[in-house]
Symmetry: C2
Subunit: 254 residues, 2 copies
């Protein structure tokens, strides 16, 4: 048996997501990149900029999963409280980080490294930096918690800087097949029988509604590609038995 995959959770911190102002795109990026590295994303949460909620949630998630990735709340304004809350969650001092301080100080003109910007160089004691190739102000890791920016391209740069050091597992691979004109209710029984024979494979059924036709896509995921190939072949055969032509992959985006 393969080792079980390490587990992760994503904690999205920000009123702007819960108010609907901002459409989060960080979850999908992290979900895809973690799967590629063989890390199982087990849960995601979106919480507001409320200190007690951040502290409690960080502590709950870091106890439950191998890794936690937070996004948002590490800028210089009053609503950026993630860093001090992570310090509180770990019960450590929140203090200037010498290397972060040096990086930021030399990036500003004399006199412009003000108190607000200094907050971005203030971190939980013991934090190690996550490089920010876009806008200098670093993220950080403490324990199993990785604190990333909320702005997507900065978050992505931070994740790529961090990724090589993450414990990984066998990459989670996927195979897909779809058919037009079929409904989930037609294939559900047969699909359930395939799933029962492939307990090590995660079989998902996704109806789609497109201008060029409705149908169902089946996606199988797992770490054993031979088992995926066998499972998807059985699903394709199921489509054919029911009178629908199986098409490889997933339907093009609408």
């Amino acid at each position: 048996m393969a080792e079980p995959a390490p587990t992760a959770s994503v904690l999205i911190i920000g009123n702007e997501i819960l108010s609907g102002r901002t459409h989060d795109v960080n979850l999908r990026f992290l979900a895809q990149r973690l799967a590629e590295r063989g890390i199982r994303l087990a849960e995601a949460r979106v919480i507001p900029d409320i200190a007690a909620v951040i502290v409690d949630t960080v502590n709950e998630l870091r106890a439950r999963y191998d890794m936690v990735f937070t996004t948002g709340g590490i800028g210089p304004t009053h609503d950026d409280i993630t860093s001090e809350c992570v310090a509180a969650a770990f019960g450590v001092k929140w203090e200037p980080h010498p290397e972060a301080w040096a990086r930021l100080e030399r990036s500003y003109k004399p006199g412009e490294f003000n108190a607000a910007r200094q907050r971005m160089a203030t971190m939980p004691r013991g934090a190690t930096l996550i490089d920010n190739a876009i806008s200098i102000a670093p993220g950080f890791t403490i324990g199993n918690v990785h604190v990333l920016a909320g702005v997507p391209r900065i978050m992505q740069a931070m994740f790529e800087s961090l990724a090589p050091s993450l414990p990984g597992g066998s990459p989670i691979a996927a195979r897909a097949v779809y058919a037009l004109g079929v409904s989930e209710g037609r294939i559900a029984e047969g699909l359930g029988l395939v799933q029962a024979r492939y307990e090590d494979v995660d079989i998902g059924s996704y109806p789609f509604y497109r201008p060029d036709g409705n149908g169902v896509a089946i996606v199988v995921k797992g770490t054993d590609t031979a088992r995926l190939d066998a499972a998807i072949a059985e699903v394709a055969a199921l489509f054919e038995t029911l009178g629908y032509a199986p098409l490889a992959g997933e339907p093009a985006a609408a």
Copy 2:
């Protein structure tokens, strides 16, 4: 003092979101529609199709918030387990719902209302139906938990059918102002002072990076529109004091 707004949480159920296959768009829709109705979305979670996780999370969220909205997992296939899990969470029987059964049965040709489709008419005892104007199979409400589809246009139709019956509050209004060329570090101190004078207003600061220029947008939210107008005027004056022209609203999408 106004009554505190009722609180809500959104529970997104589905492996496809956590694997990165599907980009969730339901959270933003619900966030915006709930805010319009004066309901405060306090938390969102994304969890996999694992029965024990669904049961525990439904029970945690329904105890903590005034309302819970679930999306996903109410179709006919083996990975659609939300309905039976909600029954387990409430400790009630999962059984055929006569009205849902009748609606579905008459929508299929004779002999096509098979066992898989009958699962969509099987609900927790005591559930009341949420109409589905798109594809017939209803959602349902039990206690303070509203169980909606995962397919966005079906979810939206279900929400609109349900919305008039939800307890509401004063609508949460917003005002925004932005400036080009400014950075958060320049305005953070002054913005913090405005926030301190408007404790009843939620002031968010959002940097943006666009081909036509970078800058910062400030969004103020609350239920008292006179206070919002006063707060946003102070933010605009802050921009001017620092030498940046305040522009009404938010910058156009990139």
